[in-house]
């Protein structure tokens, strides 16, 4: 791979791939780590499972390259495929999605201190990544999905809307409600301790 690959946009690589399939390797290199982390957070935790799901994601992306809508970002488009594959994986395996949140201090802090979407009561207790991870597993799936995308994948509202195929307005609502539910779970867990 030469340096030109790094200067190309995703959309340009897609156009190249449609002419020559080996260019798809650039896409794989660009997104493998991100998507692996993402599906891990969504609940695909086992290494082999992650490899299988990742392969399916990229194969599906390749087969559907012509349906890539340039009005979306490529990132949103491939995240959507990843999201759908992760969901169908744990539905197929009949397991409850258990997130494996790899959250560093800044991410935890961003999630809990953020006052966006009218959540005024930012959590003021000390909390570590492990506690947050447990709490995230307890909240509703619909809230967990948006919180992961917003605070762990650092996606904008429009991107989340495109990934989850929900209206942008609903993204804000889900984040707000998700955070409230997360605070409640954290508080309950703190009381138990």
């Amino acid at each position: 791979m030469d340096n030109t690959e790094f200067q190309l946009s995703d959309e340009e690589i897609v156009a190249m791939t449609l002419r020559e399939h080996s260019s798809f390797g650039f896409i794989i290199e660009r997104y493998e780590a991100k998507l692996k982390r993402y599906i891990g957070r969504l609940g695909v935790r086992n290494y082999d499972d992650q490899a299988d799901v990742l392969q399916e994601i990229f194969i599906k992306a390749y087969k559907n390259l012509n349906s890539f809508d340039t009005s979306l970002s490529f990132s949103s488009w491939i995240y959507r495929i990843a999201h759908n594959e992760a969901i169908s994986w744990y539905r197929k395996h009949n397991v409850r999605p258990e997130g494996h949140l790899i959250a560093d201090g800044e991410e935890v802090l961003a999630l809990l201190k953020s006052k966006e979407e009218g959540v005024e009561a930012a959590y003021d207790k000390e909390v570590n990544a492990e506690e947050l991870g447990r709490a995230m597993e307890e909240i509703d799936e619909k809230y967990r999905e948006v919180l992961i995308l917003r605070y762990f994948e650092h996606k904008e509202y429009e991107e989340i809307s495109d990934i989850l195929k929900i209206p942008t307005g609903s993204v804000g609502t889900l984040i707000s409600r998700g955070k409230k539910q997360l605070y409640n779970v954290l508080n309950q867990n703190a009381l138990r301790i």
Binding site: T17, L18, H21, S22, F24, G25, I28, E29, E32, A33, K36, R37, G40, Y47, A51, L54, Q55, F58, I59, Y62, K63, N64, L65, N66, S67, D69, S71, I102, S161, K165, I166, P167, T168, G169, S170
Partner: protein, 287 residues
């Protein structure tokens, strides 16, 4: 977590090999576009069907002869229960649900909140339905389906059920004129079941007479005098709107004209007909 760095070449090679080995190709743009067009086509179809349902519903609601409900029913409520086009209202509701579903499944349909999609589908169906109604489509569709299907109760069939009821003082039929040897003001009417009635038209006014003389099917409001031989006393005559293709404008005019006549009867007749055979209609509130 960052094991991906070590696995990266493996995954990339695995995928590229699989693409080559299985001869995988991106799906054709034509197939993908056709799915999108199909979804929009289905959306359009559901809105159109919704609009057709609205057109028939509007036709039924706006051109039912409300002025006569006292004649055919015991109350306005029972009248409405009988005439509301439930099938079309249900079809409109189902089509709106399908329209929302189809729109949500277009490429960018998810970006719009449910209320906007629902609202726009309803408004488009209503607006389209109003236009189709103005073009007479609701009337024609209802009638055509009624002609083709025995199970479907068109407004024409419903109206026939209400009006072909001599015991209750209502008849649908065509005037055949005066028969030889029958003295005026007696004329002959053949009703929808083929029965020939000897009809007394002494109390009919000029408008009624003109309607009779048109030779088209008419509705007669009056009194049953005798079942055998069939004798009927006519109090008023109204056109049968299903006899021929009328424009919505003509139907509107016809309805207005009938309402005016009923009003004139109400204002002018009491003193005249109180003692006549039609007085019971005044008391009943039909005039």
């Amino acid at each position: 977590m960052e094991t991906s760095q070590t696995n990266q070449p493996d995954l990339k090679n695995q995928i590229l090999s699989r693409i080559e080995k299985d001869a995988l190709c991106p799906d054709s743009r034509l197939i993908i576009s056709s799915k999108e067009y199909a979804m929009w086509g289905l959306w359009f179809l559901t809105v159109l069907l919704g609009a057709l349902s609205v057109a028939v519903t509007l036709f039924v609601l706006m051109h039912r002869q409300y002025s006569f409900y006292q004649v055919t029913h015991t109350s306005f409520l029972t009248f409405m229960v009988d005439v509301l086009p439930y099938l079309w209202i249900a079809m409109f509701s189902v089509m709106v649900i399908f329209a929302v579903y189809n729109f949500r499944h277009t490429k960018h349909g998810y970006r719009y909140p449910l209320w906007k999609i629902l609202g726009s589908s309803v408004i488009l169906s209503l607006a389209g339905g109003a236009l189709l109604h103005l073009g007479g489509v609701g009337f024609s569709l209802d009638r055509t389906i009624g002609n083709f299907s025995k199970e479907y109760t068109s407004q024409e069939k419903l109206e026939m059920r209400f009006w072909q009821n001599p015991e209750e003082g209502r008849l649908v039929g065509v005037f055949l004129g005066a028969e030889d040897g029958v003295p005026l003001p007696l004329v002959v009417l053949e009703d929808a079941r083929g029965t020939r009635w000897e009809m007394n038209v002494a109390e009919l006014n000029d408008v009624d007479i003109r309607i009779i003389e048109s030779g088209k099917r008419v509705r007669v409001l009056g009194v049953l005098e005798n079942a055998l031989p069939a004798q009927f006393y006519a109090c008023a005559v109204f056109p049968w709107i299903y006899e021929q293709r009328y424009s919505m404008h003509e139907l509107g005019e016809m309805k207005r004209s009938m309402q005016e006549r009923i009003l004139r009867h109400t204002q002018a007749l009491p003193g005249v007909v109180e003692e006549g055979k039609c007085s019971h209609l005044v008391l009943k509130g039909a005039f």
